[in-house]
């Protein structure tokens, strides 16, 4: 505060505050005029003010003053006229330093324009609403994003609500009470019906302001168009959904083999829950893991191979895998599409078995053709020959009764051959047989009883060992016939030099009970006869009657009940026949 001379503008008096503010001493002040504390550019304005006649009290407004060290001061000035003293006009000036206020104002302005710049450049719409949820501010982006200008929101208070998709309005209605009751930030995703771009997904973030009484006073927030993200999300969801719903099992693995993702079908296939599966490695499920197949090969190359998978319960099953190695975001992955091929494998096995069966049938047919060719034709040829020799002119020719005798034998042989063939064909044609438990020990006793006289005549001795089992699964009649034929065979080919010894033993092995019958008879040179021994109408020893049917019949019968027959033999030492019967019922 100071007083100056209205004529000379010299300072007449200054107070301490002025001295402190401007930096001049009192003596210095009193040597100066009020023009000396102004920057040069302000002088014309001052002079024009001073030239005007002024009222007693004047609020001179804001001015810029200069301190002793050249600093500019923003000041507000009020002055009023003092009474004339000794002919001297005086005026009291009160100065308020407003530099700080000015600076704050300028900073605020700068901040404001920065905020505006930000608001103009961000994608989001920024808005404010009052306690009545009327839009008090909305940033210009609303035109770009929603197709309405800010003024339209200010004029039409209900516009914002009408833009919300009817199906999403309930979201707003449900959330508003919560938003208005707290000062927490809320997020809403809803669809807006824009004026120019149709329906667009928007993310709204807002926070309410409450007064001290806890009453809602305003709402501030932002709105951003998330349609693109929503679309991407949707397509991702669509892919995920498809993958989850797929009937094929899918696994994703990292280069170390660890499973990082699996779909529902993969879980079902392997019997694990998703959580369990994600803790496993491909090594845990691939029972025939081959490293070169799973390790990184060529990108975008599909590799198909078959392997065997192991489920949680430990069951193994064949699968076909298509592996795709790919690189995503700098990481290597392997995507595997897995198909259970048990059914196919089974079908393949069935096909193989069918082929084997067909081949077998074909062999039988060939053999049958051969039998027809040889065994049926041989007696017929004899009949033709014998009848041609018959002396019709002289019925008393002594050759005639001989021929008749031979004709009879030949026709009987023919008849018996046809009967045998019929029997064999009957056994073979019954492919599906119901197997029953059969006690081979009991059957052996029955057989021995039925041929007791022959055994006694040959002085045969028996030893039998059934410690490894006497129960087989088969057809009782067949088992009887097999054992009978083997014993008859042993009697037939017993050595004339020594008494017949028959040793019988059972051996349990791999689901089969092997019925072993060893004799000390003539034996067979198997190096030459192996392929013929079980053939039809094969005989191996001179001077011994036989149709060569017994062993073939045994073979046919045991094969028809799921077993097989084998032989070991040495000339003049004896033979050992091994008949393998099923030891357990087939579980089918």
């Amino acid at each position: 505060m100071w007083v100056f001379d209205t004529e000379t503008y010299r300072f007449l008096m200054v107070n301490h505050a002025a001295i402190d503010l401007y930096g001049y001493s009192e003596q210095e002040f009193l040597q100066m005029t009020i023009k000396d504390i102004r920057p040069a550019e302000q002088l014309p304005a001052l002079e024009s003010v001073l030239a005007q006649g002024r009222s007693a009290f004047n609020k001179a407004g804001d001015w810029v003053h200069k301190t002793k060290d050249g600093r500019l001061l923003h000041v507000e000035i009020a002055s009023h006229t003092l009474p004339v003293h000794e002919g001297q006009g005086r005026r009291l000036v009160v100065i308020y330093d407003i530099s700080a206020r000015r600076q704050a104002e300028q900073q605020l302005q700068a901040a404001e324009s920065l905020a505006q710049a930000i608001l103009r450049n961000i994608e989001e719409i920024v808005f404010s609403m009052n306690e009545n949820l009327e839009v008090t501010y909305v940033s210009p982006q609303c035109e770009e994003n929603l197709g309405y200008r800010p003024e339209q929101f200010y004029q039409n208070k209900g516009l914002w609500l009408s833009l919300i998709h009817p199906e999403d309005r309930h979201l707003v209605e449900e959330s508003l009470p919560l938003i208005k009751a707290s000062q927490k930030q809320f997020q809403l995703e809803l669809r807006a019906m824009t004026a120019h771009k149709g329906i667009r997904w928007q993310l709204i973030q807002c926070v309410a302001t409450l007064n001290q009484a806890g009453e809602f006073v305003r709402l501030d927030g932002s709105i951003i168009d998330i349609s693109k993200r929503k679309k991407a999300e949707h397509s991702l969801q669509f892919s995920d959904f498809s993958v989850e719903r797929a009937a094929e099992a899918f696994l994703w693995t990292k280069p170390d083999g660890s499973i990082m993702r699996a779909n529902a079908a993969a879980c079902a296939l392997l019997g694990y829950s998703k959580e369990e599966l994600l803790k496993l490695s491909i090594l845990d499920v691939d029972a025939q893991f081959k490293e070169d197949v799973w390790k990184w090969s060529q990108e975008d190359q599909s590799l198909a191979h078959e392997t065997v998978f192991k489920n949680k319960a430990g069951r193994h099953f064949p699968v076909e895998i298509h592996l795709n190695h790919f690189r995503f975001d700098g990481e290597d992955y392997c995507f595997a599409s897995i198909k259970d091929i048990s059914t196919r494998k089974q079908a393949e096995a069935e096909r193989t078995s069918l082929i084997e069966e067909t081949v077998r049938q074909n062999e039988h047919l060939q053999q049958f053709a051969y039998i027809v060719s040889h065994n049926l034709r041989a007696p017929v040829a004899n009949i033709v020959g014998l009848t041609s020799l018959y002396n019709r002119e002289d019925l008393q020719d002594p050759i005639n009764p001989v021929l008749i005798n031979k004709l009879e034998r030949t026709t009987k042989r023919l008849d018996s051959t046809i009967k045998d063939l019929n029997e064999i064909l009957t056994i073979r044609s019954q492919t599906e047989k119901v197997l029953e438990p059969v006690n081979v020990e009991q059957i052996l006793l029955d057989v021995r009883e039925s041929i007791a006289s022959q055994l006694n005549a040959g002085n045969a001795t028996f030893s039998a060992d059934f410690t490894q089992g006497n129960r087989v699964y088969g057809v009782k009649g067949y088992v009887h016939s097999i054992i009978l034929n083997l014993i008859l065979n042993a009697i037939k080919y017993s050595s004339p030099d020594r008494g017949l010894e028959i040793k019988i033993k059972t051996v349990l092995s791999d689901g089969y009970l092997c019925f072993m019958l060893q004799d000390n008879g003539l034996g067979i040179d198997l190096t030459r006869q192996q392929h013929k021994i079980f053939g039809l109408y094969r005989r191996f020893h001179p001077h011994i009657e036989g149709k060569g049917l017994g062993l073939h019949m045994a073979k046919t019968q045991v094969e028809s009940i799921g077993g097989w027959i084998d032989v070991e033999s040495a000339v003049n030492q004896g033979s050992t026949f091994k008949v393998y019967f099923q030891a357990y019922p087939r579980n089918e």
Partner: protein, 136 residues
Amino acid sequence: MNKYQRVFLIDDDEIHNFLCESVIRNHQFAEEVYSFLWAEEALKALSKIVEETPEKFPEIIFLDINMPGMDGWEFIEEYRKLPKELTAKCNLFVLSSAVDKKDITYARSLSEVRDFFSKPLTTEILEIISEVYAQE
């Protein structure tokens, strides 16, 4: 009809051997007919002849194929090992009840086999043999 000294019959079918002997005798086809039910025995007899009385080597052999023990094919393999000067003068015929083309073709492909005839042995067969094969 040409008359031969010695004929061997090798067939496990006794009745057929009887039949052959009767036909051969009726037509005075040969002086002596020897029947063998087993190829092994026939081979043994031939080996003995080779060693002791080669001049008695048969001129005609009728061989069956399907026999127990050594069959016709195996017999031919052993027969092949006998001295060539003897077997060259002998006519070996396969006489079988087989009607299987494969057997017939195979029999005719063997150099030791002169021809293949289907059973039964008839006068016609004997005539063919004496007319065709005796010329050689």
